[in-house]
Symmetry: C4
């Protein structure tokens, strides 16, 4: 194994995990971040149930794409199988984040995708952030974390959503997963997702008949920041 | 008395009490934590109405299971009798926490138990967190704090709820009590209770027809973290 | 003038003013605290519109009960006349606090008194925290701050409320005033008022048919903390 | 160019930009502040998409009123054209602030102006904070940021609102812009706008039939703080 690569991945994954409670997205030991190195297939993920205050970069667990632990004394996050399934299906993503952030969970519990009610949404998510269907008892009882990954992929496939254009999802009755090119970007997407979830909640209270923004405004804001014609930022 | 035991209990109870305002669950002098040592029957509890900023570990009050003060110059929390009643009925718990945390109080004031709308709930509470019936005038006027304990126990008995599986309750018109094997665990349960209370509030706003999660998902998440087949954490 | 008395009053009033943004009750320069010395009739109040970060204890303004500035280079809070009117009518109070704290303002703007939905309310406020009627155009245009004081007193007189038992009020379309024996106590009452305002908001959302707690529970909690039979705290 | 002038403008604009996340109004790189010097026509604005933690005063971008970059290695905020359009139409303002602050966005997404429900509103905004109409696809696709400025001006012109009396606006489906004589004042107006947006949300929940405050109370509070007869503050 490439020691230097793993060291750097551990540090990035560790920093991204710490960024979650700092952003107010995670309480206690909830939430986890992983990163994959696409060349070697090496995955680094947070250990299961270790308090943030005691966690060190070196505690991050190293696995392969099949979930075999390659290094580290600790057990990986119990959500590992979900992460791996997403890496297998969504070839362009290099990091996955799972949280129980309050507002995203509220929509997941309500079983509703988050409509694009404004440009804050459109800047990051190109359309509705979808909510999966409910898992069946068979799925939950057989291979729960794997099936969680599968139902996310099914949602994006069925609804023909590009996971790079909508880098996040709500799992019915559970909570959000987001992803991105890097752990930092995946965490940012979790921050935005929780923010737009809260904005959408109250938007519907302030105006019971509100509709999503028109497609042309969604296009404008999304493509102002993404793709070949982006002109936001210093890039 | 075992000096060393009491010293350690005081430090744990003190730390757990301080954890409440740190977690945003307590304002002013509201809230209290106690611990019992089952072998000796010694109980340690926060003193009544002392500001958190001035409180020291040694201010914690030592009593027996009948509420007699064994050591300490200060009066115990006025809620002591409720704690003692819970220790007598719920033999497996070693710590009790009472707060007026905002969201849990809102449900207590609304007189409703908190339905299990998602996995954040199921990870800690195996089903509805119940709300007691309203105390009668006779109960309130005779031995209020004792009767508060009794009505909690009545609720768990009548509804056939295992207090280890649902380590918390809402007292009608008042607020939450939680418990656990240790003061730290009991405090964590208060943190989770307030979080799921807030999530449930907005879940019902976002989807007026939402139902609790199915039993098989409740089972999965609860038993992923508890019992002989648990696989969450490093245990 | 008693230099020592004034120095101590200034320090208490200054500390109480700073406690407001610390408790999250005040943004920018909103909010003010005053104290009266009943023997000398000396009143100390925050200066008008001075940023909290630049304010010093010595900037507090000294006036008499008629609002004449006795010492200090700065203008007193524009709400001075309201404070003075309350001191004249409510003989037992020694401090008044005015804030625009979010949740209390929401009820004031809604024109509703806050019902006693739980024991958190009852511990500090012995019944509904009333909301005044709307001031008339004549009252607003003639002597607005004085009339604000008068309408508060009118509310307590008409509704036969003891200002020591309900140490706070909402002024219609404006916001809360609280009071107490000391600046610290008056600030605490502002903290509690905002907290119970928020609790009451959501209580009504979680249960649309909720009623206030029964009188016997209100009695129990209020008199557990106040009056000759109080047994809460170390007093 | 006047080096000293630009240096001071950069420092003020930098400080004002940092004040936004400090006040909880901005996450990630959202939000921007600019200032204009009316004599020279020099504009200083935040660079586009630079993280707040890495930004230095010297990174602020210097442009003229037509948007030509006069100094600085970085690209200006993508919202520059909106700022410039406002400076051209609203001759008395010297600073513009744009944020995605949560509560103001909620009203913008709901497509509603914020009614003046209380004196907290009236102290800063002399009447409804208006919401623009939705931009057409043609406007969005041709010169989006410029048209955003134009629709704000159209709103104030059509509704005959004085931009100095109502120093802020909601852009439909997008979010708030505020302005003022100085960057500090424009930021303060953003703080107030988000606060009154939240207050108004819940005011409507607590009382479904609430009406705005009467004109005489709006007058009283606004003119207590603004204009020749103002008596609030030390001015």
């Amino acid at each position: 194994m490439n020691e230097q690569l793993i060291k750097e991945m551990k540090e990035r994954v560790f920093a991204a995990n710490l960024a979650l409670p700092d952003a107010g997205l995670v309480k206690l030991t909830w939430g986890n971040v992983s990163e994959i190195d696409r060349e070697t297939g090496i995955v680094v993920i947070k250990p299961s149930g270790v308090p943030y205050g005691q966690m060190k970069a070196d505690d991050m667990v190293v696995t392969d794409l099949e979930g075999h632990v390659l290094a580290g004394a600790l057990k990986p996050s119990s959500d590992l199988e979900t992460h791996l399934e997403l890496y297998k299906a969504f070839k362009e993503i290099n990091s996955v984040v799972h949280t129980h952030s309050k507002n995203a969970v509220m929509w997941a519990q309500a079983g509703r995708g988050i409509p694009a009610y404004g440009t804050t949404h459109a800047d990051t998510f190109y359309g509705v952030v979808p909510c999966t269907r409910q898992l069946t008892s068979k799925e939950v009882e057989s291979a729960y974390e794997l099936e969680t990954g599968k139902v996310i992929i099914e949602t994006f496939t069925k609804e023909k959503i590009d996971p790079m254009a909508v880098p996040g999802v709500l799992v019915y009755g559970h909570g959000p997963f987001t992803w991105g090119k890097t752990p930092q970007k995946a965490v940012e997407n979790s921050i935005v997702l929780d923010e737009i979830a809260e904005m959408a909640e109250v938007t519907e209270i302030v105006n019971k008949n509100i509709l999503p923004i028109p497609q042309y405004l969604l296009d404008k804001h999304y493509f102002r920041k993404h793709g070949v014609n982006a002109y936001y930022g210093q890039g």
